[in-house]
């Protein structure tokens, strides 16, 4: 079967691309702020009923049905080697599309959409833990905190 159609159409994309440049959906994992480019994000979900997938790697929580499409839920904490959230029932997730497939990244909390100036962007500090280095595209210096730009492809080990 061929891939499902991608909703965003070419012309619309070119217009919005400039406008959304530097716009990130932010989320918190273990008090650390992460960001995903807003165009990659399809949806933000509250707690969902997730069907467990036997034999799957530990970070895969399972799959869920999002309006007729199957979404694979990935636990960001487990993927980053952190201990699971004490109260998992309040977790939220960000649905991203990667290579025509939907993934739901389960995080502690989803924040707001932020417009971040490129001047605040920096490369990964060399001392960052290698497993974090791998999934981080770089760091934004925000007031009072730092934001890691998540590399979705590498996060999903799709590269």
């Amino acid at each position: 079967m061929s891939a499902l159609p991608v909703p965003a159409t070419g012309s619309a994309l070119t217009v919005t691309e400039d406008a959304t440049q530097g716009m990130y959906v932010t989320m918190t994992i273990a008090n650390q702020l992460f960001g995903i480019p807003v165009l990659k994000v399809q949806d933000v979900l509250g707690p969902q009923r997730i069907a467990h997938v036997p034999l799957a790697p530990p970070e895969i929580l399972g799959s869920l049905n999002l309006r007729g499409r199957i979404v694979t839920a990935v636990d960001v904490r487990t993927r980053l080697g952190l201990s699971p959230l004490e109260d998992g029932s309040k977790s939220m997730s960000v649905v991203v599309e990667h290579e025509d497939e939907l993934y739901s990244l389960v995080v502690d909390k989803v924040g707001e959409v932020m417009q971040l100036p490129t001047t605040d962007f920096e490369r990964n500090p060399a001392t960052l833990d290698p497993s974090w280095q791998e999934v981080s595209n770089g760091i934004y210096r925000l007031q009072g905190t730092l934001l890691i730009v998540l590399n979705v492809a590498r996060f999903l080990r799709a590269e």
Binding site: A51, N65, I70, T72
Partner: protein
């Protein structure tokens, strides 16, 4: 108009359209050999088909054109604009002739094509005539006059949306044909429009007037478009299922009526879209008559190819996938199956061999039979090939049924053709066929009778997109099992006649006098340890994959549902145990089990399961073996593995002598102790006594029995619970309860009583210490006394973990004998652990012992560090190996 002609017209029109484009490209790009090749083939096809249909005028013209193109191809002629012009003119003429043909169903006899043919021939001879330029496209028929060729014959590329609309409006099915991209595919004949369907107007725009051309009634639709349409419909089906599910829970809903209508319309739409993807299987067969003819010619055979049910339709995706396997199988039948005419006459068969290809629908599946009346599979050839390729050993073969041996034709690298012909015998045969068919959820089955012929039967689903699946539950999770593989469902409980029994913790089920190996879904998917719920209630899904039949233990079985198979996310793709996932009617996401993978997923035992289950339906790790049945004393018949018995003897009781009350007999110039299988039995003084001779290192022991009944091939499933001295337990052999005799017990009895004093024979030596690692109690009990008797100090443990404990405890051995397939840790891992970690044991000779030794296993065994590899039951081999390796002295 006859079908053949209509097909020809449609196909040729398309080909010509392609040709127009390609020749123009050629002009711009005169040195592209691929392009020339493709143009040449197109014209060649037209010529060939015309010749076949008896259209001499077209044939001659196309032939002249082909000549010129042939010269282009061979670079004997330069591609000049004049030449291209001439070719294009010829093509135009062909179109005109075709138009006439379509209208009158015969070739035009007005005018002739001498002008073009002369010019083309001259061109081919390298003498381009300026006359070529003068040739005008003649106005041969009225239709050609008022209809522009570009429109009349070029298949309309529009219509994707129109077809969708048509379906949406539920108009009568219109002529929408799906075409594969390859131009050789013939169009599908779609039902003719009944009323004024929207499509007619489209067709009429192209072909003015009443005489709308045949080519216009089918349109080319990009396959990707159809695929996406199919996906959309699949989604709709799912949504419909969801709605119906909701509705079921509500009575008197206002939605009832409309939903029923929606249900119906969706089904119709699904059918309609499905139909656009359907092609007659004849398309996949089109080339077979030619192949068989050529083959018959080459091999001097006479073969008649019968094709039945060519109009049977199936999904084009499936069609593409079975095309090659089918071709291969027909070739096989013609090449290997059908004998030479002389041989056929000799065996009283008609001189002409028949290969029959038959396709038909059966309950959502399509069945394709390939039957030949040839010589059948040559069992002996297969056997020698198996041995030659090292796929099995002689003793393993002797333990197999004919059917089981024949299954080897599906193994990789197997080809029995003595000579490699150009058509078959390259050794990439039936294994690829089977893999391809199983990949699309199909199955292959076959029968063969020597001298009568072979019959292969392929069962494949009609379509891959929507399948019927059985929903099962295990550990509160639901899974879908493709219905095609499910044979039956069995409900078990502790009190019902179907009860799950355990053999060495491997669950099996007695089903109609056969033992069905069971796979615990819970264990396979690591959902928990307990196989069965506490009350013993469980369901068993009896499934067949290839020739392996096995049961899957699940907690509950729900309904059958139509599901839309969706591929699993890339991140999960290495989980080959799932063939996809789907959304059920209630909106939940479930995984679809891939039964092929389950069979091979059951750890190391998987391959065995498949092998053993293939025909014999045995449990894991227990292969069929020859058993000697005998009677001794009262009670059940008794059995002993034949491999342990050296000889069967009848001795005259008068020859039995006694020493210290123990019976013995002079045997081969030595004294052989005799032990009665019936404890305390009194041996009559006269008559003949049946004796089973067990031999060991030049020593013999005779077991006296009342009567030798039979030698049978069966599985040794020993129920170990009822143990007593001399018996390993009870098993069902040849349909009867049978005590399995512990040969080791009698051996040790004989050697204690008789060779007791001779223990001193070993005293001069230091006793070699052997560690036996073996999970099966049967073999542990068998080998321990055996090795002890041979002069080794044996310690036996159940698995490598225990063995490693002994290492930690500081024990030392001279050699290790280890099984391969064991729970917790297999023999390979055990050895590589020992070899790789510097310990006291790392230099010990280690012998692998397995009942299933494939060459791959042997290689692997040596690689990881086994000193040698011995088949189970090969006592001599094991003792020799130990002896050889230990004679150098104790380490």
């Amino acid at each position: 108009m006859d079908d053949l002609l209509r097909d020809f017209l449609t196909e040729t029109s398309e080909n010509l359209a392609t040709l127009d484009v390609e020749i123009v490209r050629l002009e711009q790009n005169p040195n592209d050999p691929d392009l020339i090749g493709s143009i040449f083939r197109l014209v060649h096809t037209i010529k060939g088909t015309c010749g076949f249909l008896g259209l001499p005028r077209l044939e001659h013209l196309a032939h002249a054109g082909e000549n010129v193109l042939g010269k282009f191809r061979d670079r004997e002629l330069e591609v000049t604009p004049v030449a291209v012009d001439l070719i294009l003119k010829s093509i135009d003429r062909i179109k005109v002739l075709l138009a006439y043909l379509e209208q009158h169903e015969k070739e035009s006899d007005e005018g002739n094509d001498e002008d073009l043919i002369t010019a083309l021939n001259a061109m081919a001879d390298g003498k381009p005539q300026s006359a070529a330029a003068k040739i005008e496209t003649p106005v041969a028929t009225p239709i050609a006059a008022n209809e522009p060729d570009e429109f009349g014959f070029v298949p309309v590329m529009a219509g994707d949306l129109a077809s969708l609309d048509a379906n949406m409006n539920m108009a009568p099915p219109v002529a929408v044909s799906s075409y594969a991209k390859a131009s050789e595919d013939k169009p599908v004949e779609a039902p003719k429009p009944v009323a004024a369907a929207p499509k007619i107007s489209v067709a009429e725009e192209g072909g003015k007037g009443a005489a709308s051309s045949v080519a216009d009634q089918s349109i080319r639709v990009n396959v990707a478009q159809l695929e996406s349409l199919m996906t959309t419909v699949s989604e709709l089906v799912l949504t419909r299922n969801q709605l119906l599910q909701i509705l079921r829970g509500q009575k008197d809903s206002a939605f009832l009526g409309p939903l029923q209508r929606l249900n119906q319309v969706t089904s119709e739409l699904q059918d309609g879209v499905m139909k656009t993807r359907m092609q007659p299987i004849g398309n996949a067969w089109a080339k077979l008559p030619r192949i068989v003819r050529d083959l018959a010619h080459e091999l001097n055979k006479k073969i008649d190819l019968q094709m039945l049910g060519a109009e049977t339709e199936l999904d084009r995706q499936v069609l593409d996938l079975i095309k090659d396997p089918l071709t291969h199988m027909v070739r096989n039948s013609a090449d290997h199956g059908i004998e030479l005419p002389a041989d056929r006459i000799k065996s009283g068969k008609p001189e002409i061999g028949t290969v029959t290809l038959k396709a038909y629908h059966e309950g959502g599946h399509i069945i394709i039979d390939i039957v030949d009346d040839g010589r059948g599979l040559a069992l002996e050839k297969i056997k020698s090939k198996i041995l030659e390729k090292g796929l099995a050993t002689e003793s393993e073969l002797s333990g197999m049924t004919d059917q089981q041996i024949m299954q080897f034709i599906f193994k990789a690298g197997f080809s029995t053709a003595a000579q490699v012909t150009s058509v078959s015998g390259r050794g990439v045969g039936m294994d690829v066929v089977r893999t391809n068919i199983e990949r699309i959820g199909g199955t292959v089955d076959f029968k063969s009778i020597a001298g009568k012929g072979s019959a292969f039967s392929i069962k494949i689903p009609l379509t891959l997109a929507i399948v019927s699946a059985l929903i099962v539950e295990c550990a509160d999770e639901r899974f879908a099992v493709p219905q095609i593989s499910v044979i039956e469902l069995v409900r078990t409980s502790q009190i019902s006649e179907h009860r799950v029994e355990l053999i060495n913790e491997t669950p099996v089920l007695r089903l109609r006098n056969r033992l069905l190996p069971l796979v615990s879904l819970r264990k396979t998917l690591k959902l928990g340890d307990e196989d069965i719920k506490a009350n013993g209630d469980a369901f068993i899904v009896v499934a067949q994959v290839g020739n392996a039949t096995f049961g899957i233990l699940v907690d509950r079985v729900f309904d059958t549902e139509e599901i839309v198979v969706k591929p699993v996310a890339k991140i999960l793709r290495n989980l080959n145990i799932f063939s996809g996932n789907t959304i059920l009617g209630d909106g939940s996401v479930i995984m679809i089990l891939d039964l092929n993978a389950i069979v091979s997923h059951v750890g190391d035992g998987g391959s065995q399961l498949q092998q053993a289950a293939a025909v014999t339906q045995s449990a894991r790790g227990e292969s069929k073996q020859s058993l000697l049945l005998f009677r001794a004393g009262a009670g059940a018949q008794k059995a002993v593995p034949l491999a342990l018995v050296a000889r069967l003897e009848e001795i005259n009781r008068a020859n039995i002598e006694y020493s210290e009350g123990s019976p013995m007999v002079q045997y081969r110039e030595k004294l052989m102790p005799l032990v009665s299988a019936t404890a305390g039995a009194i041996i009559p003084a006269e008559g003949m006594q049946a004796v089973l001779v067990f031999a060991d290192k030049g020593k013999h022991m005779g077991l006296m029995v009342d009567e030798i009944i039979d030698i049978v091939e069966d599985h040794l499933h020993v129920d170990l619970t009822g143990r007593r001295p001399g018996a390993l337990g009870t098993s069902i052999i040849a349909g009867k309860a049978t005590d399995v005799v512990d040969a080791a017990y009698y051996l040790s009895q004989a050697f204690q009583s008789w060779f007791g004093e001779e223990d001193g024979a070993f005293e001069g030596d230091v006793l070699r210490r052997v560690l036996l690692v073996e999970d099966s109690p049967f073999f542990r009990n068998l080998l321990t006394p055996l090795l002890t008797v041979a002069g080794y100090d044996v310690t036996s443990v159940e698995d490598p973990i225990q063995a490693l404990k002994l290492l930690e405890d500081g024990l030392m051995f001279d050699a290790i004998v280890s099984d391969i397939e064991m729970p917790n840790m297999n023999g390979f891992d055990f050895v590589s652990k020992l070899r790789n970690e510097e310990t006291r044991w790392s230099r010990l000779p280690i012998f692998a012992m397995s009942s299933h030794a494939t060459p791959r296993d042997l290689d692997r065994g040596r690689q990881v560090g086994f000193t040698d590899y011995v088949a189970k039951f090969n006592r001599e081999g094991l003792l020799n190996a130990l002896h050889e390796n230990l004679k150098g002295g104790v380490q």
